[in-house]
Subunit: 123 residues, 2 copies
DNA sequence: AATTTTATGCAACTCAGTTGCATTTCCAAG
DNA sequence: CTTGGAAATGCAACTGAGTTGCATAAAATT
């Protein structure tokens, strides 16, 4: 499994370690980071903007040139949901500003965890 | 200068180190982190979602309960601009999803750097 | 084949943030 | 006061993601 293949297969952004595990081969972490940097520089991959102590990568294929799909991070199950179906919102920037990349991040409860919370409350 | 004072005075999110410098006093970094965690837990301060190897903090006062003001990070001058005047965009989440916090991050060129780039090209 | 270029690996490093534990400061009961 | 226990502060040592320098291996070029 190639590095890009691992990322395309996943439905969420992956860390360097998760990518390595999905690839199966045990390449050196330095090599992995170097390849990731090349992919990012080439614009094939980018880093997801998510509150996390480690960098998370995802293929740029799921985003338009300037507007990345929104991410929803659930506080209950800690899953990251890529909202690729949602059209990214646009805002009016001050004069002269040139937007090159935009990411929207949301935190809260996903539908499953919202339901679970309601059940707990009603007992 | 208090920790919160330092953050309110700044027009951009600050790192632990920047906060310490603005406070003047030389408190231990462990103490600073502990205080920051308390402020975050109390909802008085939150971390800005910006591509950065260090955590950046800002007062929650500049945001509404669920929607944080957008940030624009300039690739030219590396300044972070808090777009507090812009109304944060809203998106329609899938059924059952409950949004608790949202942040929009933008990267590109600020007006000053866009002008500078045009001048360079025309020479 | 010889030589240059490029990719890989290892070990040691950097640096933000954390943890354990000792010390100080605060504050309330005696 | 002062004493005893809780909360805040500090120090040093640790953790872990990511990086750097340098040696080695694999390609590509002549």
């Amino acid at each position: 499994m190639s590095m890009l293949g691992a990322m395309l297969e996943a439905k969420e952004p992956l860390s360097r370690e998760q990518i390595a595990r999905r690839m199966g081969e045990n390449a050196n972490k330095v090599t992995l980071y170097r390849t990731l940097h090349s992919l990012v520089e080439a614009g094939i991959v980018h880093t997801a903007l998510i509150r996390n102590r480690v960098q998370l990568y995802e293929p740029s294929a799921h985003c338009s040139e300037h507007l990345c799909h929104p991410h929803f991070v659930c506080r209950g199950c800690h899953k990251t949901i890529c909202l690729t179906e949602i059209t990214p919102p646009t805002v009016d920037l001050p004069d002269g500003f040139r937007l090159e990349r935009q990411q929207l991040q949301m935190e809260g409860l996903c539908s499953t965890c919202t339901m679970a919370e309601h059940e707990t409350q009603s007992i």
